[in-house]
Amino acid sequence: MGRYILRRLLIAIPTVAVISFVVFAILALAPTDPLSSFGADPRVPPEVRAAIRTSLGLDDPWPVRYVKWVTSLAQGNFGFSFMSHSPVIDLLKQRLPNTLAVVGVAYIIGVVLAIPIGMISAVKRYSLFDHFATTFAFVGFSVPTFFTGILLIIVFSINLRWFPFIYDSTLVIHDLSSFLDQVKQSIMPITVLALFDTATIARYTRAEMLEHLPLDYVRTARSKGLKEQAVVLQHVLRNSLIPVVTLVALGVPTVFGGAIVTEQIFRVPGIGELLVRSIGDGDTPVVTAILLIFAVLVVLFNLFADILYAVLDPRIKYS
């Protein structure tokens, strides 16, 4: 097992290197210009634009810039944002807590709700509950988050005035009332995201359960005289969860990637919002850093999922 992990980690190094090269190349070759925000402003004449370009290090050909970037990355330096002149890592540190508080919580809620829903749907197939859950699931992953987000804002913020729709990242939780404020300001984005997560995972769980329910080992368990509850929970659910756990593990990196649309709508200053704005601004140091971290997380969680697979299913052995 140890050798296996080591081998996988070693394989991951060239993978990440290739990803970093591709990401950098695509961004370097994209026509987006960090100076485009000046528009055609006559107050920023060509000499000034040229000076800014030089100071941002954009004069070098992009392969040279790539080498410089990788060199500083090797020393743990993600570089400086073009837009804020601050280290990229500081921006990420400021934003990660917001993303985890919203996207992370939504993911946990999604998983916690989805597994029982999927299980009950499968066991009581075609029951009223199943129909309801199925409808809910289809709504969950077919209605886009920009729609549900705006709908919630209009209903709960504009009409009912229950929740604010502008996320305040300066809020410090120090007592019950500030905690309630945090709940109020994050409940809508969390709902939007959890709806999607719940729907996806619930459908997956249901499908896996349905696949296992007619199998021989389930019949055997029943014929041993086990209670139905024990059959479902200890045999069927456990076996069905193996691929679900993999799916959930593979979804974790996306939590760190933030939720681009939802963060934008509710003004949650998370990683996703940073990513999309930086793309628009041509702030390449930030974009490359986020995409690279994301790539590393995907590689790591893939490995993690594979290991978990072996732990959950004793038949699988890595050597």
Partner: protein, 594 residues
Amino acid sequence: MRWRSTLAISFSAVILAAACAQTGTPSTSPGQSAGGSPAASGGAAAFKRGDGGQLNILYWQAPTILNPHQATGTKDSDASRLILEPLASYGPDGKPLANGLAAEIPTVANGEVSADFTTVTWKLRQGVKWSDGTAFTADDVAFTFTYVADAATAATTNSSTQGVKSVVAKDPNTVVVTYDAPNPNVYQYGVGYVSNGGILQKAQYAGCAGAKAKDCPADLKPIGTGPYMLDTFKPGDVVTYKANPNFRDPNKPYFKTVQLKGGGDAESSARAVFQTGDEDYSWNLQVAANILQPMIAASTKGKMLSVYGSSVERILINFADPNAAGDLRGEPSTKHPFFNGPDGLLVRKALAMATDRQTVANQLYGGGLTGKPGCNIITGVPDFESTATTSFCAAFDPVAAGKMLDDAGWKLGSDNIRAKNGIKLKLTYNTTVNAVRQATQAIMKTNWEKAGFSVTLLQTPAATFFTNTSPDGANHFWSDIEMFTNNSDPDPTSYLDGWTTKQIAQKSNGWQLGNYNRYSDPTFDGYVTQLRTETDPAKRATLIKQANDNLILNVVIIPIVTRTQVTSGISTTIKGDTPTGWDSEMYNIADWYK
């Protein structure tokens, strides 16, 4: 699955964001200026510092840096204006206003501007302190000049220092600005926050000039002389401020704290001020008029703050041939087949005549809510506003335009496109991705096709359009016509320079210069040359109008809509804001109260 759909949505978000960014274009340039106004120094109300609670301001673009000299947009410049101050601002009338660090505005009359328009003596306010309690002196002003003028600093405000020989601290309260040559625009250095930025504290920025400016930590926490001082700043998210205990006016500012939140979109920003009242001030509400108008009408909490400056949404006509072979594409050595041929002026006039600015202004800009039909490129300062163009613009008639072409031999073919000598009136029309602009394009296309043109619409994301590096950009101008908004300082000399022959954007200068049209007219060049030296205000006004008329009547540009420079929502409870179209929207934040 999750990632895939996130990705798909992210693309639409990018487009949405770009669209929004675009709507805001006029203001994404750091060029808005807010100047000062009569009330600026006053504040008639009797209030004491910190009487108010928190002032909540919402910008749908988030500030990312608090040094106005490194600002990449209005958002940064405005957010820093609460902390930093210029020598003077441009007031609502486009004239200098002493609401900054200068005690008064230098003029020839008070002897502070030399008779030859070469030196300007600025008297500074006495006893001003930085928010850290140290004394502000003329040295800080001289230092700020050195910082900005150093090309290695790469300051976005650098053009304010061009042609300035020196800025010297004569004594702790006097600064002398000397220009290389007589400069009729004596306020070029010193007035206007957008073009000049604020005065930086020498002690804080001494280690940040030149090459070290690039990643200067002070840019995220500047010390200023302004009414508020920084509390916390999260780039791209939120800025919080506290009242500056050392502000020079002991009763100001009124609010104890200010929060400036960034991000989101313009439409929900409008909701926050008009419907929920969560925000006291919501910046740049460039929202489709049919959504915005009912919101404002039904609101008891907020009202619209609309002020015109110099922003004009305009169509540019290409004088070069965008389809020339190889390296000659769009080069000034080529001539546009029908816009710059023997019938060039006639064809251009036909296009202008078939341009329906009234419908665009009414349907898309709410008939005066965010814009009005415009006919001049130089607008906003009454003295410079030409009337010679009015009748020319009033003649909207696509059928007559078609007839004019017909009479000149441009006959309709079986494909409904006019042609003469084998040249067809087929044109491509590029602009940024933006809902309002796409609607404008559709209106133009309909009318122009009635006159016998064939129009292909193109759209380019803002981040690719406003750059000299992209073949789809405004600078390359490899289409027949293009459309965007731009604006100028109250003195339009450098703005008008952007249509002179020496400013033609082409391959040899990396498309960096401002004359995208590749217009070349010695008469026009002459006006701009004279503006550089003419000091008599009446003669200047005449020259400016002549230059304007030259561009309009020769149909180099077709102005469509004069857009509001300030287009913000403000709580009905806020008093004291007298917005200007020539300086930062926050130029008189010291005077705001409830």
